[in-house]
Symmetry: C2
Subunit: 388 residues, 2 copies
């Protein structure tokens, strides 16, 4: 059995379960730290293990370009190449091809693009990206999809959904025929922008293929918060109940909770790690921007209620000093804290669901967290002090 759904909350669609994967088990709802290039930025694998990571996400697009299939094949797969023996999910690279690469051509056959690293030209089909993910040997691999920006016209979104479905079918066939099933589970990705009928059509077509799991893609692409929520709460219940559901690229603590509320099991997002590197830290009382001058002489921990190694040892004054002095360790300590926060949040979420009190937990969290919701500025896109 690949996914064991264990309990659904009495008052919401929130659910707990377990993914049983070749490299280990993963309790859901789970937040998967993003290790785009085979490394969660600023952390070592030891850090992740200490923090309790059960699965990380890597990106096929980046790894395809560097170090490339040959090196990873020679290493014996991604797990061996990076020295991480717990589960890995690889994203297919659809999102990155459309957001990072210089795109030369997209048609039903596949994509032609130029690397964002060195401008080299690549011609990839959906089958290529499945095959490459099979070389990587991740526990969960993703269909190659077309991800449109927001806003997109209905006609464009429709064409893109049709193409995404076709690519999903081709990828699935390749995965089946070439023995991918023996080492990995392949997820289909639901696209359709903000258009509910397109989302529904995409879900139906993907379900007809019968993937081991399903992801919702194309959200958190700069659409307004209400649109995002509308699409998540519309799409999630359409997905099969007995399969894992993954909301791609989400998110902030509050977005993660909303996803859980709707019945999502898996999340990934660069925000906790990227925010950390920009000095924006999650606490039980809301966000703290460690660059703020008032922390220079604040000799208390970041979050009195936090048991992470950073809060247990260091003060805001020291973290502020490290950031101002541009010390590399600022990036790592901040990241450790934010990742601990996300893991700890998921742990509390799972407990609350188990005890049928997720709704209370959700409301309480938002109340506490929103004491200063964005009061110090969401620096996700802000200053990149370190150019990372």
């Amino acid at each position: 059995m690949f996914f064991a759904l264990e309990h659904t909350d009495k008052n919401t669609s929130a659910r707990i379960g377990k993914l049983i994967l070749p490299h280990g088990e993963v309790l859901t709802p789970v937040f998967m730290p993003v290790g785009t290039q085979g490394s969660v930025k600023a952390l070592s694998h030891e850090d992740l293990e200490t923090l309790g990571a059960e699965i990380i996400l890597c990106n096929a697009y980046h790894l395809y370009l560097r170090p490339g299939p040959e090196v990873i094949k020679k290493a014996g797969g991604l797990h061996k190449f990076i020295g991480w023996d717990k589960p890995i999910l690889t994203d297919s690279g659809g999102f990155q091809v459309f957001s990072l690469a210089h795109l030369n051509k997209v048609n039903d056959e596949g994509v032609i693009f130029q690397s964002h690293i060195d401008g080299s030209r690549h011609n990839l089909t959906p089958e290529d990206m499945i095959r490459f993910q099979m070389i990587l040997g991740a526990d969960i691999i993703m269909s190659f999809d077309e991800c449109l920006p927001y806003p997109s016209k209905y006609e464009d979104a429709e064409k893109s959904v049709i193409r995404t479905i076709k690519w999903a079918e081709r990828g699935y066939r390749c995965w089946k025929e070439e023995g991918g099933e023996s080492t990995s589970d392949l997820f289909g990705i639901v696209q359709g922008g903000v258009y509910e009928d397109l989302r529904e059509r995409c879900v139906q077509s993907l379900c007809a293929i019968d993937f081991p799991g399903y992801a919702i893609g194309g959200v958190s692409v700069d659409e307004p918060d209400e649109e995002k929520k509308r699409i998540i709460s519309f799409t999630t219940p359409l997905l099969p109940e007995d399969k894992p559901r993954y909301l791609m690229g989400v998110g902030s603590p509050e977005d993660l909770l909303f996803g859980v509320y709707c019945g999502i099991d898996m999340f990934d997002c660069v925000m906790p790690t990227r925010n950390a590197r920009n000095g924006c830290l999650f606490t039980s009382r809301g966000r703290v921007n460690i660059r703020n001058a008032k922390y220079v002489k604040d000799f208390t921990p970041l979050d009195e209620d936090c048991n992470c190694p950073v809060c247990k040892r260091y003060t805001k004054a020291y973290l502020s000093h490290l950031y101002r002095a541009k010390e590399i360790s600022a990036l790592r300590l901040n990241t450790i804290h934010n990742i601990y926060f996300m893991f700890s949040l998921c742990k509390l979420v799972r407990k609350a669901i188990k005890e049928d009190r997720f709704l209370d937990f959700y409301n309480n969290f938002l109340n506490e967290y929103n004491i200063k919701p964005f009061s110090e500025g969401d620096s996700e896109i802000g200053s990149t002090f370190f150019n990372f």
Copy 2:
């Protein structure tokens, strides 16, 4: 007792001993990692503890400018401010005032300079730097000295030695009168450039003051290797046998061994950490430049004989990938390895001295290490991929 000399090697001047300091004991010969701004670059204190660090060096010049005396005083001293409870040695800032700051005026009274950070103007006397180090509360503090560049004329070096001696006297008096003795040990710093008679004169004057320990400063300032060795081997035996001897800013593995050979007990240098950040790694078979293309597909550890956490888990191919992908963790993993190498070297050195076979150890090490001494380029000053 502050310094316990335990054994001197039968065939060389190499010696082992123990520093007994307010925050703990330190076995010598010791390599002290440099945490200029209160953080060893790319490492956390937990990393240092895991690696076995017994003492770190911080820099009074940097900490004076940022976060400044007020913040550190409020925090309750440097140990509390940075969250490190083992011994700390603070450098007085003499070297930095002369190398980093924009110098406006030096006279017998003190220095007037502008901060390298924000251009702010500062006027400091030798007493000020002793008082600030007393606020920091380091276990070992250093006299404020004038450090000349190489080459310097005899007349300039002589003037500078006379001033350094005067400043050492004033600093010592201040330290005694204001109760510094109860929390710290003050070292005198021998200057004199490459001139043996000036070095001797400086040693004699400092010994007359009777410091708890002595440092040799003004070496490793770009003088030729032979000059450096000549001055170290000339000056070290002039220093009192029963006091700790500290060779400032040295150095590479081979320079450290030369210092030990001459009877030095303490070393510090940014080279192991800075080289690490530039991809230049120490191994028992010489230096490895991880940027070299041949490591892209090298799936062996950096050093087969090394027991550090990096060599135990990661391959050269992965370290090469992290470096090429500009992952922050490359900086930390490389630094962990180089610091482990230095600590491990000191441990082997202490064992060899204890067993009266330091000379054999020294020769064997150089033979092994010099298989490719600088074959891949000393990148200390080279590429700064990460701008750190």
